[in-house]
Symmetry: C2
DNA sequence: AGTATTATCCTCGTCCATCGAGCATACTCG
DNA sequence: CGAGTATGCTCGATGGACGAGGATAATACT
């Protein structure tokens, strides 16, 4: 009489449906028959699962383009009234916001310059946008994920040196009746995106490294970022791979951070520490083609970057390394020195098949894409789907209570 | 008529039973009622699952010691005719073998000195032992796992410098009708053991580091080692944290390896490279209390070790670091210098609560315990249990077939 | 155009892991 | 020895998943 409402039951309830959704997510526009084949489903199960996903506004089926003989099948796509997540990327000069459906594709990407770079002002703007999204999507908005260039621990931003922020509590940005909030380091999230859908796609273990001011990154295994206790890992820039006599703003000495970015280029050129190391670095890299000093400085930085990458390849044996931010341009500006330092830093047995280094494929969308992906992870799990189904049921019930709805569902 | 024999069905079939076994494994001697509570099982499900595990010779229930009122419950223990795995640890002077039951406790630990250190000779001895185990346990022997101090990639030993071995194919050691074979790096496996049942127990992310000749280790997340492509990771010793002018036997320069072991101590003392760096290191550490030169060398090595550990803590943010091999003694021999270098290497915000460094709890059993654990992982999964059940059914059927059974299977 | 071929989809009866409720059981405590 | 308490077992119900077989919708061939 009570029905299968227990927790244990609920958890297994969406098992295969979830697998199907994951397939669709991995390959948007997948055909239903193909998905069933991949999951090893019989046609009966496929029918049942597809029907359930349709009736819960999770997927729609549209006739697939026909190819060859046989009865045509349908393609599976996110439902137009299905769950969505919001992804936000806070950058130095602006912030971006996007909405993503179940397949992870970004919609409504909007970029807005900071009116003020103060944390309060930025958060206020974001909060207004989220209120708007909440109005527009209602309970369809299932999660919010924020990417920011700072140290994130236990879902809190501890510091964002680039923005000049101290600890920030992001829960303020949420509207009432809030969906779950995730906060993540931008390089970590970009790494997740590159590993799943970017230059590391298909690889099991991906090391993603980004040079902006200093160097950040993450090791991603099977699409999951290895980011340690409370998510505070990924500070590869603070491995002591550099000159021990240099003190890092982080408090340690000899950090790799100090050898690979605009600050390092300035030091090598005898220039004072630049106010905007990124801009400075781009200028020096552009000069490297004709200016001897710029070229020499670039080569030193390229070698320091490549040697560190080789060390990390030794330590972690990734299948592929993806390079974001300035790492690609630095490599390109001093290709021979970079490759030489990389190979020389590898253990001999790894040199036969050196781990490939790829430039990040998602460019500046990386962090935003990764934020969307991590938010979707919250939706596309058994608990998330169960909550979605329960919400829909609640909505239907309260709709009845409000008046006109016949109760025969 | 055909019954639920499909693959998809099989997989979910052992789901809860598996969870129960995992609980028993995590805490041997767990009581049945307690296990049901932890898994959120109703008493009906608990009864069914326990009955199935009993009937498949996986668990036995013995009356639990009674405490307080109420009906007494039973304790769950591995079945005396249940599946077992073999764990082997190949070390410099000897090799060890043990058998483990489902709860991971080691039985019949035997140590045997190498008659010859040649790979062929060692493998021959091991093969004989495994044939013996196979005879004794028959199909109960479900997996064999070998720990060895070398580079393992895709299940093959690429090289074991300490033993003087090149590539070795371990499949030779298996008897006919062989159970699956796993080969793993000893430091990696010791890390798995420390993280699950040793000094890192309870922590989510554990960094295990072992100093023997050079330094090895692994990051273990939720009990799973992060060992990269083909398992060739964990070569932390080949991060370029050391003096770039020193060439490492691995082919790279400035490897951390060269700064933290007996070779480093010898270098600092002006002695020639020792034939047995471990023995040499122990001697120097013992002298450090009274000999100034030994003390100075020890301090340098301790500082190099601690600074590198701090860098890795920055990079990975583990919940705890476990120190195996000589790492503990080196730390103890120069405690102040070690702690100072560790703290100074941490990023400032980590110094408020420095990640704890614990001496490995399993001592020389670490690799063996980890090998057993990784072998058990093969058994305690849905496919493993399904295979076990199928084997038992086959045995019963062939037993019948050998006599009077009609062929109408 | 009509039929064969192919591939997919749907319906139906079955199976069984899991569930909760209620009863049975086995111990301690007073 | 009964009251109290905690656990185990039996039972009927549920619903996700399954396979078989028939229905369906396209192309390919004659």
């Amino acid at each position: 009489m009570t029905g299968p409402t227990s927790a244990g039951r609920r958890e297994t309830r969406w098992h295969l449906a979830l697998d199907l959704l994951e397939e669709v997510r991995r390959q948007p526009g997948l055909t239903r028959a193909e998905a069933a084949r991949r999951l090893g489903l019989g046609s009966g199960s496929a029918t049942e699962i597809a029907a359930r996903l349709r009736s819960h506004d999770l997927l729609v089926e549209t006739p697939a383009p026909i190819s060859g003989r046989g009865r045509p099948t349908t393609t599976l796509r996110p439902h137009p009234r299905g769950p969505v997540v919001a992804a936000i990327d806070i950058r130095y000069e602006d912030w971006r916001c996007a909405v993503a459906q179940l397949d992870g594709t970004l919609d409504h990407v909007a970029t807005e310059r900071h009116a003020s770079r103060e944390a309060d002002a930025v958060l206020l703007q974001i909060a207004a946008t989220l209120r708007d999204l909440r109005r527009r999507y209602g309970h369809r908005l299932r999660a919010v994920s924020v990417a920011v260039a700072g140290t994130v621990r236990r879902g809190r931003l501890e510091q964002a040196a680039a923005m000049g922020w101290g600890p920030v509590d992001f829960t303020r940005i949420l509207p009432d009746a809030a969906p779950p909030l995730l906060v993540g380091n931008d390089a970590t999230l970009a790494g997740v995106a590159e590993a799943r859908t970017g230059a590391g796609r298909g690889a099991q273990t991906v090391l993603h490294l980004t040079v902006e001011v200093g160097i950040g990154g993450v090791l991603v295994v099977d699409g999951v970022p290895i980011s340690g206790s409370g998510g505070a890992g990924g500070e590869y820039g603070h491995l002591p791979l550099g000159d021990r006599s240099l003190r890092c703003p982080c408090g340690a000495h000899g950090c790799w951070d100090l050898e690979v970015d605009g600050r390092a280029l300035a030091r090598h050129l005898g220039a004072p520490p630049p106010a905007d190391p990124r801009r400075f670095a781009r200028a020096v890299l552009a000069d490297a083609a004709r200016d001897d000093h710029a070229r020499a400085a670039t080569r030193r930085v390229a070698a320091a970057l490549a040697a560190g990458i080789a060390g990390l390849v030794n330590a972690h044996a990734p299948d592929v390394v993806t390079l974001g931010g300035l790492a690609g341009p630095i490599r390109a500006a001093a290709e021979p020195e970079f490759e030489d330092a990389y190979l020389r830093g590898l253990m001999a047995f790894r040199r036969l098949e050196p781990t490939p280094l790829h430039t990040a494929a998602l460019g500046e969308d990386g962090a935003l894409t990764g934020a969307a992906a991590s938010a979707l992870d919250l939706v596309l799990c058994e608990a998330g789907l169960a909550a979605w189904a329960a919400d829909a049921a609640d909505a239907a019930r309260s709709g009845q209570a409000e008046g006109y709805r016949p109760r025969t569902r």
